[in-house]
Subunit: 310 residues, 2 copies
């Protein structure tokens, strides 16, 4: 062993909590870190979605906390973020998994697979070609960009909406959020892939639904709060849009008596876009990368700024 | 008008039957043909799937008949094929539509969308990543090749099985039909995209199902007779495979009392892979091309050899 390696191993002393995990442990070692008890750790990989159990045990020698969540809205505003350590999120680590789910839902909508699955007799479905349609993607972070890549052979016309409107690779057009009003009437499909913030709360409400084409589908793989659920129920019931494929809902979990369950134009996948094996594999890649950066003092990926809203 | 153009227009005198169709008529004109009554026609575009109504009206001046079907198993052995005209099929004309349906079914299987559609309460689905899986495609004609193209960003390992085993572009491996026995145990997904022939009848039976991995799915966008339906029902009931997504069935239409309707691991789309608008658009492209070839005496696309079995 060279002195350099020994020194590197010494710098990243990582504790995994609240429970150990073999795949994450391997990633830490691959990244050049070593495992440590919490009392001796300078870095923490926190596998729970919430902060509650971390607050009482976090100590001053911890310089970095890697979160397992990609969407950090439940952490924002938590005083733990300003207690000292750098926090990093898993933002982007699950992009391949979630974009694949979005593509599945888009094609299911075009091919009426929700109808097919519920049918108990032979009946030709009113299927549509997805190829060549206009897909609006709201938010072009990791998920949106991965979806554009995955749809490339299908010759769709992608209209991306981002905060700034800076052109997104692979999109026919990119619009800034301020011009969002232009997209509702041109979309065959609308994919929500933006974080949950004050700006995106109820981004789709009664007015937006009313402006949509009668065959248009909404695919939500972001957060349930981006849609006004009551307005969506009304639009589906009155057949004013083609349908809604929802991996996320508001409330979540969706209550048993919620009217969305009964809407024939609605397909709900219960926050399953990130399969368990893909989730841990995606997080492991991020952990390996960030441990290797932490070990040599390089900037970490996806640092959480406690002052931003997302 | 030059003499050449007049001569060309004179050569292709096309009748569309049994009923006229505006989109096909436009395609004939774009291809340089002219419309003619049947009595004066030297070419026929036949939009029915069966030969019955064509047999009594076909006359000796007709040199070419364009069929609207891609799979011609119901025409093979019919004496009409040897009565004089060249027959051409629509083989390959619907490849984009059917391959898109196959991709939809593959992703629905990975993402358990059949379960999601039938659920009336929140429950995380046992979703899988489709990305990176092993997809066996049996038959690599137009549909198989289009599917390989459409899956390209998803990093799947494609094993193609063709009659000859000549390497298929985009496939990791191509096996000849004689080595088909090797694929059942390696596939995460098996796509049937081969014509219905004596060789492909019950290509998947009890032995093949028994050799498949317990999570493997079969996607059939070819013909129902490629699968032994009784053996499939047993395999699904005993949870020996992941599931079956069937656009085609045997019998077809599937009777109301058929046990496949009750299998939770089965998704049936009632021969809807080729949406109505895509079907007529695909046929129109083929008609335009073949009319333009017929008009100048060039070889036609997808000539039916009455002596082959497909």
């Amino acid at each position: 062993m060279t002195t350099g390696e020994a020194c590197t191993a010494d710098r990243a002393r990582v504790w995994v909590g609240p429970e150990p995990d073999d795949i994450i442990t391997s990633a830490i070692l691959r990244g050049g870190g070593q495992l440590a008890p919490l009392s001796d750790a300078n870095a923490v990989i926190w596998l729970h979605r919430q902060a509650n159990d971390l607050r009482p045990i976090l100590h001053d020698a911890v310089q970095w906390v890697q979160l397992s969540v990609a969407g950090i809205e439940s952490w924002l505003g938590d005083p733990i973020l300003t207690r000292g350590p750098i926090f990093t999120s898993a933002r982007g680590a699950y992009a391949d998994a979630v974009s694949e789910h979005a593509l599945s839902l888009l094609l299911a909508a075009a091919r009426q697979l929700h109808e097919a699955a519920r049918s108990d007799r032979w009946s030709r479905l009113p299927t549509r070609m997805f190829r060549g349609s206009t897909v609006v993607i709201i938010g072009a972070g990791g998920i949106g960009r991965a979806l554009i890549r995955d749809m490339e052979p299908l010759d769709v016309d992608v209209v991306a909406v981002t905060k700034s409107g800076t052109p997104v690779t692979g999109a026919t057009r990119t619009l800034p959020a301020a011009r969002m009003g232009e997209v509702w009437s041109i979309a065959d499909y609308i994919v929500l892939a933006a974080p949950a913030t004050a700006d995106t709360h109820w981004l789709i409400g009664a007015a937006e639904l009313a402006a949509m084409r009668s065959h248009a589908w909404i695919v939500n793989v972001a957060r349930g709060t981006l849609i006004d659920s009551d307005a969506l129920v009304r639009a589906l019931r009155e057949k004013r849009i083609g349908g809604a494929a929802l991996d996320v809902t508001d409330p979540e979990p969706l209550t048993v008596e919620h009217p969305l369950w009964a809407e024939p134009r609605c397909l709900i996948t219960s926050h399953s876009a990130n399969p368990a094996d893909a989730r841990i594999a995606g997080l492991a890649r991020r952990v390996e990368e960030n441990v290797s950066r932490f070990a040599v003092g390089k900037p970490l990926q996806e640092v959480v700024d406690p002052d931003t809203t997302y």
